[in-house]
Subunit: 451 residues, 2 copies
């Protein structure tokens, strides 16, 4: 038979079991947390009609998209979860209750140039709340509060959700008579973290054509720093000069106040006037989230408020607010930084039952009894020598082996061996389950362990 | 803005929230049950190198596959989870502990002609156990025992896992001097359920070129029916005439005996000599699973033992046993048959918190308190009239609404309204959580309710 060398495409994450188990744990935390806030799970197709997926069209997206034909059909793989959501809501709007809250944790596809830490297939973990015509500002405070819960659930504490409001920026640019250039300016200001204030100023002057006065006003504005109360106080100094600005400041205050009510500590949340988000469709609150010890990786969770989710598909006005975690990249970075908790069990089973004699029926019974107590139990029935059985248990990194020899079977007992300490105790199956559970409880911890 | 009519491609399942929640429940049962037997979760890419995916090549698969180029790359979407598993095991064999047990619940893609109940994108829920060189027969008994647990977990009891062994068939055909035609004969016999004995006999005579005596021997053989003990006894009559047959009979007996030890009742398990599975690579035990009240839909869960998983990618001999549930189709059929349990809660939240006054801080606190007790709680903050708020709660089919007026807030209480009975009680948040949990516990049931 001709052998074809196996490989996985570059830019596609494929994990070994121990890491996959940790990844799944993060997905479970996302799923449980999102669901606990009343978001419905959604699962849309990976393949969509290309015309529909690219209704907005143009730009980088179109170059990166996986697009192909099958028969007469012009097809494409989704490149995010927002466009499929827009399609879904437009298509099913009569059957949905608004506000419609959904979460989706799914793979998306972008044929980017392959480079370290960049993926062509990656998970996004999104939540969105879509209103019919209107949507209360409170939703804009709840979304980052949920993200706070998720990140804490992962085991992270050194992160900051940074919040701004596009209306404040738009209003401010209007004050300077720069409304028409506001998009261009915001895209420039967005690069502040990467290129620094001086280079931003240079671009504002040369490429955007601003006066020195205007550029300085902008740099002074985005340099406003301090506690949330201090930043809000500084913003009040601009009040009364532009209606949009005042509206935005009111929204930002409401989000800030209510984030505290939702239990988000000030340490994990900051008003930051440099946040604009590159995308044009955000109209109010915008979010970015950074890991305080790893600012170099940029935002790991971003989103904001938009006024018109599905304008390409339906006449209905559907405002919303949403946020997205780039899960594959986040996992990759946390792993690279050595932050995956090595204490967290990573074996596919809590216990490995090893029959030592010929008759496996007692081993089946013991495995079933311990499984019934909620533990993950693998029965090992290969005809191997004792040493090989233990080598298997070690390679699997299973925390407990359960040995069943003739003596144990005769006594209705089993020998439970702690694979780390080597300690071995003879117990009934019920006692064994309780013992293993108690020992595992000592080790249970978060997926991430900050240093 | 030009409006593009939204649509979802035909052959792609996209569910409304209430059904998606039921589907997710089935996925959760699969995930939990598979994990409880020590299977590691696996997640391989949707896109693979086309050369690798089609290493085996030919046949129906190649016509149905989604294959396309991106830059210089010849790519394809996976059409099952077995080929990606073979690639994974071949690629990572030095890092895996054998037997390697993995489960994968993922979407696969086949561009079949669209028809009712046929999907181009569908979930498969697979388990496989891969040995290095050898694999004990006990694994072939454990696999259907796990499937039994899964189906019972769904709420099904009227199903039957049918088991046969390819060695018995191969040995039997060898006795008749028909070894070279055995593949062809088995594919014909496999159609027995669909076309009946007479037509099978006709094909055996005309297309396979058998003598009348040979055809009758075969029909007599596959007509062996009865309890498992009766079928095994009848097979013993053929013993001693062919080594392969005897080997297969020994395996079938071992599987049958141990399935009982694993707790699978005879009612859910039958030795059935007509099962052959169309695929050529099964070499021992083969499985099919039918819903007893819906034989017309064919097997909903199939698999078997194979001797060489990854021969296209690696010289190593990797025998295995696996089984696959076509989840999307199963869900579609159960829904069509009206078997989805209407009693099972299908709302995205257990409770909807409705603040009646202006200050939402107390409502946030109540929602958080009830959420902390493990319930799914949605906070509703839209500025709407009471009637509209209740209409929303009804459309969402949320079982409980929690009303927070000024009186309740002053007293530290909340009013819990049962949305089905209309009953309303005033409770503390802690009492409210306990009350809702107790009421929901009364309604908890399986996803499937057999009639």
């Amino acid at each position: 038979m001709e052998i074809i060398k196996p490989r996985t495409l570059s830019g596609f994450m494929e994990l070994l079991p121990a890491k996959q188990i940790r990844f799944e744990k993060m997905v479970e935390i996302l799923r449980t947390t999102y669901a606990s806030y009343g978001f419905a799970p959604l699962d849309t197709p990976v393949i969509e009609d290309a015309q529909i997926l690219l209704a907005k069209g143009g730009g980088e997206t179109e170059k990166q998209i996986y697009r192909f034909t099958k028969g007469d059909s012009d097809l494409a793989l989704r490149f995010d979860l927002t466009v499929p959501l827009a399609k879904y809501v437009a298509l099913h709007c009569n059957d949905l209750a608004f506000p419609f809250r959904r979460f989706q944790i799914s793979k998306v596809y972008r044929g980017e140039r392959a480079q370290r830490g960049r993926f062509r297939e990656f998970y996004q973990a999104d939540i969105d709340i879509i209103g019919d015509g209107k949507l209360d500002i409170m939703n804009e405070a709840e979304i980052p509060a949920i993200i706070y819960k998720v990140f804490r659930g992962f085991g992270l504490s050194r992160f900051q959700i940074r919040v701004n409001n596009r209306k404040i920026l738009n209003g401010f640019y209007a004050m300077l008579g720069l409304s028409e250039k506001s998009g261009e300016i915001m895209r420039t200001v967005d690069k502040l973290d990467k290129i620094g204030a001086e280079k931003v100023r240079g671009i504002l002057l040369t490429e955007c054509g601003l006066t020195e006065e205007q550029a300085d006003e902008i740099l002074k504005f985005i340099a406003i720093k301090g506690s949330n109360a201090e930043v809000l106080a500084a913003l009040e100094g601009y009040q009364g000069r532009n209606e949009i600005f005042d509206l935005g400041l009111g929204e930002l205050k409401a989000v800030t106040v209510n984030l505290a009510a939702f239990g988000v500590p000030e340490a994990n949340f900051a008003v930051d006037l440099t946040i604009a988000r590159g995308l044009d469709y955000y109209t109010g609150t915008v979010y970015e989230t950074t890991l305080l010890d790893h600012p170099e990786i940029g935002s790991v969770c971003s989103g904001g408020r938009y006024d018109n989710l599905a304008g390409y598909y339906i006449e209905k006005q559907l405002p919303g607010v949403g946020i997205s975690i780039g899960l594959t990249r986040l996992f990759y970075v946390l792993d690279e930084q050595g932050l995956l908790n090595p204490e967290l069990p990573s074996a596919p089973a809590d216990a490995l039952v090893l029959p030592m004699g010929g008759d496996v029926a007692p081993a089946i019974a013991v495995a079933e009894a311990i499984r019934a107590e909620g533990l993950r139990v693998q029965l090992y029935c290969e005809q191997k020598k004792f040493k090989q059985k233990m080598a298997y248990a070690n390679k699997l990194e299973v925390p407990f082996a359960i040995l069943l020899g003739e003596d144990e079977i005769a006594e209705g007992m089993c020998s439970v061996k702690n694979m780390v300490s080597g300690e071995q105790v003879k117990l009934t199956p019920a006692e064994a389950a309780a013992h293993i559970k108690a020992e595992l409880a000592k080790k249970s911890g978060a997926v991430i362990l900050e240093k």
